[in-house]
Symmetry: C2
């Protein structure tokens, strides 16, 4: 029996985390009291922990880093990996501006003063258009109100505030047992698009009450990011502001996890469940997406080969349009496996398509099979499609997630910013 259970509560599921969110007018100007009528959604959120947390972050590897990424990394370096609060806005990425770092630091200062905590214990993130000056007035206005609204049920308000062109709010949480104590772990995510898009920035915030040393927290996050978040591709573009942040309050009361023991495996599994489900939500809600694509690469010689091959398939525009067109044109999958940077023996390659409607093999030993086009069409009609590739060269396997490429992707990203 698996040691976890899905629960509600998102970032407030774990003990000791309050959150809030509201509209402050980052893009459209300060509120005029008529926001719900005009449909203006929340654009700023706060998370506040009851106690000092261990925090670990994974950030974009883009050489252009958003100012909030730089400031958050500096803060955590100064605080020795301790954090109490998060302040995050949508509507402006605060990136490639002359005063970006100053503004990001000001967001931390305002939050710290309001909450009575050290500035370096504040995590800051922003998502939205690049290259526009961030207006600080809406944030000055918002911070005291956010602090006032903080609640143990504020997760929905916060998860709404970080959305941009997201069409659904993304939250997931689980409970599990470590050392006889019930632990909780939950998260919220945003992506992959913007109303006035600049990049498909993805933000992930995850909280837990499980007690882990900073080193083990970091280790768990790095390992799980590799097989979830980093196996997601909507369009192959990598944002300047991608951030995945994990905070642990320790309030579950378990003995601190300080080594790679069984408790650590349990924790990692819980983290995997939450991050995998957030990743799937991100893939499903990719800009313009009509279908979720899951590519599983099995019987690979090693794990990196499996990941690289699965990601190459998920990233291919020709595979994405083929799934959109519901066309079992699997030469495109062979091709994408073939140009992946791996040492795959393509003469051993088998390919299957699957969905709720069934499963069909289309390639065997690198050669096209004379499969039933009718069955394939039935399978591809569904909105969740699995592409299974077997390398028949080992025992490693990996999964990557993505979505189809549609007219609407072009429409969303071709539309003028304003």
């Amino acid at each position: 029996m698996e040691n976890f259970e899905t629960i509600n509560g998102g970032i407030c599921a774990a003990k000791g985390f309050k959150a809030s969110g509201l509209y402050c007018g980052i893009k459209h100007g300060l509120p005029n009291g008529n926001e719900s009528a005009t449909g203006k959604k929340n654009d700023i959120a706060m998370i506040f922990a009851d106690v000092e947390c261990n925090a670990a972050g994974v950030y974009t590897s883009n050489k252009v880093k958003g100012a909030p990424v730089v400031v958050t990394k500096n803060n955590l370096a100064k605080s020795g990996g301790k954090a109490r609060a998060v302040i995050v806005n949508s509507g402006n990425a605060n990136t490639c501006n002359a005063d970006g770092e100053e503004k990001a630091l000001e967001m931390c200062r305002l939050t710290a003063e309001q909450l009575g905590i050290p500035t370096e214990q504040v995590i800051v993130a922003s998502t939205g258009v690049i290259g526009l000056t961030l207006p600080i007035e809406p944030i000055r206005y918002a911070v005291p109100l956010l602090a006032e609204k903080l609640s143990y049920e504020g997760n929905i308000e916060a998860a709404t505030a970080i959305m941009t062109t997201d069409t659904v709010r993304k939250e997931y949480a689980v409970k599990f047992t470590v050392d006889g104590k019930e632990c909780r772990l939950g998260g919220m995510a945003k992506g992959s698009g913007m109303i006035h898009p600049n990049m498909a920035t993805t933000l992930n915030f995850i909280t837990t009450d499980c007690n882990l040393s900073p080193e083990m927290l970091k280790k768990a996050l790095s390992e799980i990011v590799k097989v979830t978040y980093n196996c997601l591709s909507v369009d192959g573009d990598q944002s300047t502001n991608d951030t995945c942040m994990l905070m642990a309050s320790g309030l579950a009361g378990n003995t601190e996890i300080t080594s790679e023991n069984a408790d650590f495996e349990t924790f990692k599994n819980a983290l995997y469940q939450v991050m995998k489900n957030l990743t799937i939500m991100l893939a499903k809600d990719g800009e313009g997406a009509t279908k979720l694509i899951t590519c599983v690469c099995g019987s690979a010689p090693d794990w990196d080969t499996a990941i690289t091959a699965a990601k190459s398939v998920i990233r291919s525009p020709l595979v994405k349009t083929m799934i959109y067109g519901e066309d079992a044109n699997c030469g495109r999958i062979v091709c994408a496996v073939g140009y992946s940077e791996t040492d795959i023996d393509v003469s051993k390659l088998d390919i299957y398509l699957a969905s709720r409607a069934g499963k069909i093999q289309t390639y065997k030993g690198g050669l096209n099979l004379n499969f039933s086009e009718e069955k394939a069409a039935e399978i591809l009609k569904e909105d969740e499609i699995e592409i299974l590739i077997e390398l028949n060269s080992g025992t490693a396997s990996a999964t990557a997630w993505g979505c189809d490429l549609t007219y609407d992707y072009v429409k969303i990203n071709g539309d003028y910013r304003s």
Copy 2:
């Protein structure tokens, strides 16, 4: 004054090359005498040289290689790099079939017998859907007719035969002087799409009467492919059948070029002119394209950095949709430069947009400028857009070519094969 002049004639421009093309029914069945009325276009072509040529080829680096690529490489290895003829079909890629190599070899045998030359002196290429058995009957029917139709003015018939979803025929030729002799060099290309698409296969055939040793021919082709053909990206997918073939008859009568002397530079420049112009034609005619995008990366620390950065920008779907949407959302360009695998100092990055309508700077030192949106809109309204990136870190520069990403790309590639 530049030592070359653009001329007509494509692959028949150089002395000693005949060509032909016709409809044989690779995909739609043998002709019934009513082809011009039903609009069935040529689907098979032949090139035949009056004398044995030195030949050099560059092929796809995809691990899945089309059967014709494998057979051509074997032939040239056996013949010591000598070739007399080319046989090439569209409508079927002859790839990922159990009997692909057998069929490709049969195409060479039929051609060799008909022309009275050794089988290993025949170059074979195919483009079209992957994974379908190639019907050999249409080819048996075509080869004698192709041989009969061979002519020094057959270039247009041949260039038409290799088209798939290409909307325009692609030919280019130049003349230049080496060693006091007039030399000619011309080529034809196809790409990037198929009516029943599988991948954006690109085929290039180039002929010259300039006299070069096999080694220098190979060297010139490798160098020029790197800065033309390999700097082209329509969608980032790399085909299984990509082939670029260069044949030299030596009939211009110049002293054989055997070293990297001034004549070699002259030859390379002529080859660059032809391949660059074919590359631009391929980019312009990318599936669904409405705009040609040229990205020039200047003041780079080295050549590889310049190429990598320019290609990263050209490949980005967010940049492609931004150009389609005529939106100067240049944070997307910064982002694509930022995630390129280079050691670029992004704080020195300048960006300009340019077209017939003018030129505007949008980023300076990695920061967004307060530029005129009106001027930017005027520039982006044109159908040939230049993105200029200056790294301000050296003297190297490179150019990459591509096209915008449009509804029609999704439509063409999402449509069912049959």
